[in-house]
């Protein structure tokens, strides 16, 4: 370990840390901090550029051997997740003037980076906690109704339980193997013969099911998503979900799975897809609907682990990218309103095409893509996942998953129906420039994925 390696390998993390320190200084120095959004946006951009540059350079190093390492794949994942966070910051500029929001987001992102580089289960645990703790506060930050506190508490308690479960699993694994290295888990997955190891594996997987909101561990998600403000929900639905799945990816590696684990990894996600899609049909709150949609999408994402080892990284990163971009487009294009409850209600979207045609088209594209309708990115992502599952020989699970995804078409179409097929009631209005800008920023890569998926996949 040399200081140069530490400096270079952890450059994105250092930039985030510098941003955090800078934001604290601004907070202390000025009574009315104004530039915090700009500062955090610049820091994020710099971190994305740093990660992308290191990835492009093919950089690989282990600044803290056995604890922390970077390689091109993890750098690419970092670049993707950090890039997904940038539009969130743009979105938040209208909502949060105070620097607290940005401080918390940057800290949480530092945790995400730790997860993506973790070599030991303890580092992974640290990363997970660092990522989650600021989010409990973020949910509560735009405290609007008493239910917000309830939702935040629910999230805190359930997420805490997941953490405890994870630690329990890790300690069992340590007891069985005497090692805390991440590959231990992958080895345990393949061997998994004795009860101790099996219990450890199941506990860790269940912990991630809670974090990713897989049925039946999903109950926190609809409440938390609804209670939080738009940028925070967008952050949870894209960055946190992506980070959790990438953490699972890091744990699983490319090892082939053995039979009992396959059942665990297929059945609960399948139930998630079905239940998420069914429950979303009844929602009238946009964020709650997106929460159920994200429960279903977590199901698709876990499906990706049924595929063969080398294809997993490609499938998960592509899916996370397509899914994240589409959620961000939808959140960025939501029409503004003075009252949060009104804004969140689906009725607020009625006739939006007549008021703000471009916002309506953007939300429409996002919904269709989430529904997996070609030629949008969501379809390619879903195809990639199911193709891998089918190629690995799990035909029944693939067909069941596809049929379950059919259930989701209705509620996405309902949003389109509200947007385009309701009569105009109000006069045309201007959208929020910055948020729509964030949407446009996401639309460009999304269309790129749609037109040239081959190029993106070949790169992953």
């Amino acid at each position: 370990m040399s200081w140069q390696t530490v400096l270079t390998a952890m450059l994105p993390e250092h930039l985030l840390l510098a941003g955090i320190v800078l934001l604290i200084c601004i907070e202390i120095a000025s009574s009315r901090p104004r530039g915090s959004a700009t500062v955090s946006l610049l820091v994020l951009t710099a971190a994305v550029v740093a990660a992308a540059w290191l990835h492009y350079d093919g950089y690989a190093a282990a600044p803290f051997a056995g604890q922390y390492s970077v390689d091109p794949a993890s750098l690419l994942a970092k670049a993707v997740v950090l890039a997904l966070a940038a539009p969130v910051v743009l979105l938040a500029r209208d909502e949060f003037e105070h620097s607290r929001f940005y401080l918390l987001v940057l800290s949480s992102l530092y945790g995400v980076c730790m997860i993506l580089s973790a070599d030991s289960l303890l580092t992974l645990f640290l990363g997970l906690e660092l990522m989650s703790l600021p989010v409990y506060v973020l949910v509560l930050l735009a405290f609007r109704r008493p239910e917000c506190a309830e939702a935040a508490l629910k999230y805190l308690v359930l997420s805490g339980t997941a953490t405890a479960t994870f630690l329990m699993g890790v300690s069992l694994l340590y007891g069985a193997s005497g090692s805390l290295a991440v590959p231990t888990f992958a080895t345990a997955l393949t061997s998994g013969a004795d009860a101790l190891t099996s219990a450890a594996v199941v506990l860790v997987i269940v912990a991630f099911f809670v974090k990713a909101a897989i049925v039946p561990f999903h109950t926190w998600a609809p409440d938390a998503y609804e209670a939080a403000s738009v940028p925070v929900t967008a952050y949870m639905a894209t960055v946190i979900k992506a980070a959790v799945l990438l953490a699972v990816l890091r744990l699983f590696g490319t090892v082939p799975l053995s039979r009992p684990i396959i059942e665990l990894l297929a059945i609960l996600p399948l139930v998630s897809i079905v239940w998420g899609n069914l429950a979303a049909m009844r929602q009238m709150s946009f964020r709650r609907m997106i929460a159920y949609s994200s429960i279903a999408h977590a199901g698709y994402l876990f499906y990706a682990f049924l595929g063969d080892g080398p294809g997993r990284f490609e499938a998960v990163v592509f899916y996370v990218l397509a899914y994240g971009l589409m959620n961000l487009i939808a959140f960025a294009s939501l029409p503004p309103s003075d009252d949060d409850a009104t804004r969140d209600h689906l009725d607020h979207l009625r006739g939006l095409f007549h008021r703000q045609p471009y916002a309506a088209i953007m939300i429409g594209i996002a919904m269709l893509s989430l529904a997996g309708i070609p030629p949008l990115p969501g379809f390619i992502a879903k195809f990639l996942v199911f193709k891998n599952v089918m190629a690995a020989g799990y035909t029944t699970y693939a067909v069941l998953g596809l049929v379950a995804s059919y259930l989701g078409i209705y509620f996405y179409l309902r949003v389109i129906q509200y947007l385009f097929m309701s009569p105009e009631e109000r006069a045309p209005e201007a959208g929020r420039g910055l948020a729509l800008g964030a949407g446009l920023i996401c639309l460009v890569p999304a269309l790129l994925i749609a037109v040239l998926p081959g190029w993106v996949i070949a790169y992953l």
């Binding site: 095409f353 269709l368 309708i373 070609p374 030629p375 379809f379 195809f383 199911f386 193709k387 089918m390 190629a391 035909t395 693939a398 067909v399 596809l402 049929v403 995804s405 059919y406 078409i409 209705y410 179409l413 389109i416 129906q417 385009f420 097929m421 998926p453 081959g454 996949i457 070949a458």
Partner: protein, 525 residues
């Protein structure tokens, strides 16, 4: 410009027209732009059609570029005998749909034409795609503009109708997607090659059980779109609630995507399963012919009469395709085009009368022949073409289909299977029923008592006359001179026949190998 590039221009012209529409300052400009774009597209397609050589086997004007290289997906489009007439039909109906909507659509005009453009793009794409992935992409992408078209500009029950249409179609598509993935990767496991190209898939060898399951999955999707009884219930709702343009697109082109799917993919990809299930498919086709005709007989809504007649007419197409007889196949192709022209034309005419009288109830009309002589002439032409009067396109199609069906079923009768012959006789009964419901409809609509509103009605104006004149001319053209189109499709019909007759059950060698290496598994599947 090379012809291959020209085909790409034809395909993407509507998409390129969308930004132009969005920038249009007012509705009139948007109408003009869309008509111009559609006209250019039709002229270019006509040029391609003229240059298409019926004596050349395989694809013409082909473009093949790697698209998703890692998965073996190619951007491959081209014209062949299967799709050349359907592409021409689609491009031909484009300007008519656009011009037909000039006065009918007053709400969200720009969006309307953008949606129509997108539909045109996806329909053409479905026909010209020569790669299964690309085909599926276009096939499924067509849902969304159609959802918008019916849902925004439709009648009172439009939301119900459009959701029903999309949910029906999407269910078929999702199973087809599963079948597509399974097909490609099961071929990969035996040959090691991952390819979505139709030409490669035609060489696939699959066990009969797998073929049957895959044919059912593909077939469900196609049968919903055709639609074949009993999966047809979305069609009357969609037709009745759709705006005129939507009905014309639905009847004119969209339904043919189903029969085209069977012709290009369903039957040739799984020939052994097709031959196994041929009696069942034939039964469904004949049930469709007769059931559709019977339902058309008792409808009181003008649009529903034509909607149910579509079910009946597409039954003939299916009958021709499943006969696996050269004449029957060619008849099926002609019948597809003919039905596109007549049903499309009839829906346009219903739209024209609806603009004048605001009613679709047959009971509200009567004696139009006196009030609207020109309109009545065109209506009779299309009615007679729909019945299959010699000299019109309908005759060529239906006659050839029946000839093919009898030819193949007589052959089977001599070998001891009498059932297909009974079905063929049943299909002839459909012709009689078809004449009955269409003539009765025309009689009540045009001639029956003097129930028409007691106010002067304007007869067809120049725009409407031009639209209907073009359709009538092509109906007679196809009826009197079917040689040209049939020459262009002959080789494709032969190829289809060969493919569907070929034995492609996964052969003995791989099974022997399986048994040899793993004796414990016993009999391999």
């Amino acid at each position: 410009m090379s012809d291959a590039a020209l085909l790409n221009v034809v395909l993407y012209l509507p998409v390129l027209g969308i930004p132009l529409l969005m920038a249009a300052p007012h509705a009139g400009f948007a109408r003009g732009v869309s008509l111009a774009v559609m006209m250019v597209q039709f002229l270019l397609t006509a040029l391609l059609y003229a240059r298409f050589d019926g004596a050349v086997e395989g694809l013409q004007f082909e473009t093949r570029l790697p698209w998703i290289a890692d998965w073996g997906v190619y951007y491959q489009i081209g014209l062949d005998g299967y799709n050349v007439l359907l592409v021409l039909l689609t491009a031909f109906l484009g300007p008519l749909v656009v011009a037909g909507a000039f006065t009918a659509i007053q709400k969200n005009v720009k969006l309307f034409y953008a949606v129509v453009f997108f539909i045109q793009f996806t329909m053409l794409g479905t026909f010209v795609a020569q790669d299964l992935f690309l085909f599926y992409l276009f096939w499924e992408a067509m849902l969304i503009p159609m959802f918008l078209l019916i849902g925004i500009w439709g009648g009172e029950q439009r939301i119900y109708a459009t959701l029903k249409f999309v949910l029906y179609t999407a269910f078929g598509s999702i199973l087809m997607l599963a079948a597509v993935i399974y097909l490609v990767y099961s071929i990969n496991q035996t040959t090691g090659i991952t390819s979505f190209a139709f030409a490669d898939l035609y060489r696939s060898q699959l066990p009969l059980s797998v073929q049957t399951v895959l044919l059912l999955a593909f077939g469900l999707s196609f049968a919903i779109k055709v639609p074949m009884v009993p999966l047809h219930t979305w069609l009357p709702d969609a037709h009745v609630e759709a705006p005129t343009a939507g009905s014309v697109i639905l009847a004119g082109v969209l339904l043919k995507m189903g029969t085209y799917g069977f012709m290009k993919l369903g039957f040739p990809l799984f020939p052994d399963a097709t031959r196994l299930l041929a009696p069942e498919i034939m039964t469904l086709a004949v049930i469709g012919i007769i059931y559709g005709a019977c339902l058309a007989l008792v409808q009181t809504d003008i649009k529903k009469i034509i909607a149910y007649s579509s079910i009946s007419h597409l039954g003939y197409v299916m009958l021709g395709l499943i006969s696996i007889d050269l004449l029957g196949i060619q008849g099926a192709i002609i019948q597809m085009v003919s039905h596109g022209l007549t049903a499309g034309g009839l829906f346009l005419m219903v739209g024209m009368i609806y603009e004048r009288c605001h009613s679709r109830e047959l009971a509200a009309y009567g004696g139009l022949a006196k009030l609207l002589p020109l309109y009545s002439v065109f209506f009779m032409i299309l009615t007679l073409a729909s019945i299959g009067l010699p000299g019109t396109s309908g005759f060529t199609g239906e006659f050839l289909v029946l000839l093919g069906a009898f030819n193949s079923s007589w052959h089977q009768y001599q070998q001891g299977a009498g059932y297909p012959l009974v079905l063929s006789v049943g299909a002839v009964a459909g012709v009689v029923l078809g004449a009955l419901y269409m003539l009765w409809f025309a009689q009540r609509f045009l001639f029956g008592g003097d129930k028409a509103p007691h106010r002067p009605l304007a007869d067809l104006n120049l725009r409407e006359t031009a639209i209907l004149g073009a359709i009538a001319a092509s109906v007679f053209g196809l009826g009197l001179f079917p040689d040209g189109p049939m020459q262009k499709t002959e080789l494709a019909a032969k190829q289809y026949q060969e493919l569907v007759r070929s034995e492609r059950v996964a052969g003995a060698p791989p099974q022997q190998r399986l048994v040899a290496t793993e004796p414990s598994t016993g009999s391999a599947p």
